[in-house]
């Protein structure tokens, strides 16, 4: 594989690989500043004890994480609708669908499994093996 590539440095896909990605200093710095901000805010909120209830805090932290993942994908992973002829994005969307099904499905089902357990008396709990 490698010897083949090195023997034909002007082979079609070699150029495409490198030229496709146009990484710029501005892009990386923008991504870094955004990511740093989106990291510092939730750490500050939790370590500073700003939240009193965990419900809205969880939602807010997850929202910031989702935004930061998008920032990483755009500025660091150079994702856009045109990269790799759109196949990149298609694979990502497919994966996200599977991830959402896995995560929400697992939590949903396992949460309800606890509800369906046999009621246990204190006496039974003491005699557990």
């Amino acid at each position: 594989m490698s010897t083949h590539d090195e023997m034909h440095p002007d082979h079609g896909d070699e150029h495409g690989d490198i030229e496709e990605v146009h990484a710029t200093l501005k892009g990386y710095l923008t991504g870094f500043v955004l990511a740093a901000g989106l990291t510092i805010i939730p750490f500050w909120l939790v370590m500073g004890g700003v939240f009193t209830k965990s419900g809205p805090a969880d939602a807010f932290i997850l929202l910031l994480a989702a935004v930061q993942i998008v920032v990483h994908a755009i500025y660091f992973l150079h994702m856009n609708t045109k990269s790799e002829g759109g196949w990149n994005l298609l694979a990502l969307i497919f994966t996200l669908v599977l991830v959402v099904i896995t995560l929400s499905g697992s939590v949903w089902i396992m949460f309800h499994l606890n509800d369906n357990m046999m009621p246990m008396t204190l006496q039974q709990a003491r005699n557990l093996p």
Partner: protein
């Protein structure tokens, strides 16, 4: 595709007709797309581990809770190291695009050191937990915690090994197209690990210490 067309002039041509494509018709950027597909499948591995943690993360079995054992200052430092290593890898890619080998190697070294610092801090954290009797066998929460965070740490370790191998290759053969392509693959891998870490510190650490 061009080989499948019939020649219009039949007289005197010695070239035999070809009804198949002589070369493998692969799309441009085949390697990077293939590597992206690997990253997506890796994403599914982490999704399963996140799901396991989501289900088991509050099952303490009478053991310590997340708020008791997770140290946020360490995690904040770890996050900083990983985010910094992401941007230094970005700088290395910029130097690679300009074909400046020496500064690129310098940035790659910085990236590797930051990654090594991350792994070292994480191992220290694990060692403290296990020393205090809060190893992965203590409760379902700690089992899923060690599995998820440990798998990420293992990925970072593999990334560092790959980085070292690539630096040796570049120092031997220079910035040839094949090496550039490999560096771009590792770039995707490294940034991908940072993306996973965003999920880890948000979902495991920050949400874990909340009441």
């Amino acid at each position: 595709m061009a080989d499948t067309t019939l020649p219009l002039s039949s007289g005197g041509t010695t070239e035999p007709l070809q009804f198949h494509v002589a070369e493998e018709p692969h799309p441009p950027n085949g390697t990077l797309l293939g590597f992206w597909l690997y990253l997506m499948s890796d994403c599914l591995v982490f999704a399963c581990l996140f799901a396991a943690y989501g289900v088991l993360g509050r099952e303490y079995a009478g053991g310590p809770t997340g708020a008791q054992v997770l140290e946020l200052p360490t995690v904040a430092l770890n996050t900083t190291l990983l985010l910094l290593s992401s941007i230094t890898y970005g700088f290395a890619v910029l130097e690679m695009q300009r074909n400046h080998q020496r500064p690129m190697m310098l940035w790659l070294t910085v990236t590797g050191l930051l990654g090594a610092g991350f792994v070292a801090l994480e191992l220290t954290e694990f060692a403290h937990l296990i020393e205090a009797g809060n190893g992965p066998q203590r409760s379902a929460f700690l089992s899923s915690f060690f599995t998820l965070v440990g798998t990420h740490g293992l990925h970072v370790t593999c990334g560092i090994l790959w980085l070292i191998v690539l630096m040796v290759q570049v120092s031997h053969k220079g910035l040839i197209p094949a090496n550039k392509r490999r560096l771009m693959c590792l770039s995707m891998f490294w940034h991908f690990l940072d993306v996973i870490w965003v999920g880890v510190f948000s979902f495991v650490y920050l949400m874990g210490v909340l009441p």
